[in-house]
Symmetry: C2
Subunit: 287 residues, 2 copies
């Protein structure tokens, strides 16, 4: 089992919450990969330096100076703080941006028409990634050694430029890449038993892969004002129904659509839960 | 052969010089490790954020806010820029702080009496390292894969704190650790020939290790105002003579003393040269 866990800036910015999360992650069994954001702190840094953060539809317009700031905040302070906290809990973590070991190569986003503004927007040093961008072999060589990769949102284009990337997309891209990565077992044989679903044609194995999005709610809620109304499980049919009912709306629609895309691409399940529930089974499971 | 190359902030801050250096490093044959500083940019960032950099005897007093800035600058912007530039030259680099893979664990410096001030100085989040602090096995596992580790000056204490460390000392500590690291050859045999100086008692091998300090002069100069007066080779006896003559004085004395310490501890030679001469044999060789 490989688990990819995504945490947002709200955890990174909250020392108490982060400390509890790090402790939980350290004792979580199995192979694991962390992906973190850090958006709030980047905006604070921009303001401290007299810059005005510019967001279009929730994405940061990233000029050269902004790229410096987000690289400093995400790949510098946030990434290294989390890594050193994990080390203190006995968890051998390694902080990575996409340039490190050439582990994720992003494609610079071309200027794109934004309907809400009625014009083309050049996001600047912003990159897009997919599962093909991910060097799963390198990640697997770390996991095999018991090392936990900790990804921030900075990637590179392979031509010497760093690029700011969406952390949710990094998490799903890494999850899909790992779900499809075929490894040789140490014994170099496949069990080929009828029960084992991990055998692939060439005798190599794949790991069952789970993608966990930690956020500030207990899961997908039936009533957005009632934290106890968590929907425990959503499949495609249920998702269609919830959309029709208007229960799942706005920002949650693309989030769940992307989650189902990951499942279509080999990820066993996607879990949406509160960061404090990492080790228990509370939350919404998408299958 | 393993080469450890140290560059200072004057290279990191100079895009033209850095680009040439990165190109040279990429084509340099053999196993190689880069260690970089970044001091000038850290002070600029501190000033941009309204902080006053405080230096005592050339070392930065590092309170909590300063630690954030140096981590952002060294482990974030400088480290990831250099790594992505190396990737663009086809050199598979990986940026590392000491917390990454637990590769270097530093010890927080206790308050220390500073003679020039006549009082104790608490340097704050400043760490000291030596060869025992370095996880040579992890570094070697990267080198074996053809990966070039790129170290910045940030390390950790293993208890969740990051620490600001002197990059020259990181370079010599890593060099000593690698010089003494015993690896098994792929054939799991030692040649045990009489000529081979790399055989050790248990049949494992050590790599010849060279430490290269790149700086803004062509080497150790006989006349500090004449760049053409480079002393090509200095051994211990010559060093004693040069000190007695007053040719080697001030900051150069501890630099050379530390270099000879590295040689005493297993490093084959230390080279002091201008960064633009990485690929040629100009410079001063200490043996």
């Amino acid at each position: 089992m490989i688990r990819i866990i995504k945490i947002g800036g709200n955890v990174v910015d909250n020392p108490e919450l982060l400390k509890k999360f790090v402790r939980d992650l350290a004792v979580m069994p199995g192979m694991k990969i962390l992906v973190h954001g850090g958006g709030v702190m980047a905006s604070q840094m921009q303001k401290a330096m007299g810059m005005a953060p510019q967001m279009v539809e929730g994405r940061r317009v990233t000029d050269e100076e902004t790229l410096k700031v987000v690289t400093m905040v995400y790949a510098g302070w946030c990434n290294k703080s989390i890594t050193s906290l994990l080390q203190a809990e006995g968890c051998n973590a390694i902080g990575l941006c996409g340039a490190d070991g050439n582990v994720i190569k992003a494609k610079k986003r071309a200027p794109i028409y934004v309907e809400s503004l009625g014009k083309d927007v050049d996001y600047g040093y912003v990159g897009d990634v997919n599962a093909e961008s991910v060097n799963a072999g390198f990640i697997y060589s770390l996991l095999e050694k018991g090392i936990v990769p900790v990804f921030n949102a900075i990637n590179h284009d392979g031509q010497g430029s760093l690029l700011n990337t969406n952390a949710d997309t990094i998490a799903s891209s890494v999850a899909i890449a790992m779900a499809n990565y075929r490894y040789r077992s140490p014994r170099e044989v496949c069990c080929r038993c009828e029960e084992c679903t991990h055998c692939s044609d060439d005798g190599r194995l794949t790991h069952e892969t789970e993608l966990i999005y930690c956020f500030e709610k207990d899961g997908v809620l039936y009533d957005k004002d009632d934290d106890s109304s968590v929907i425990p499980e959503i499949d495609r049919q249920r998702f269609a129904g919830l959309k029709a009912e208007g229960v799942v709306a706005d920002g949650m629609i693309p989030k769940l659509t992307n989650a189902f895309k990951a499942i279509d691409s080999g990820v066993a399940r996607v879990v949406i839960k509160h960061v404090r529930n990492l080790l228990n089974d509370k939350g919404t499971v998408l299958i």
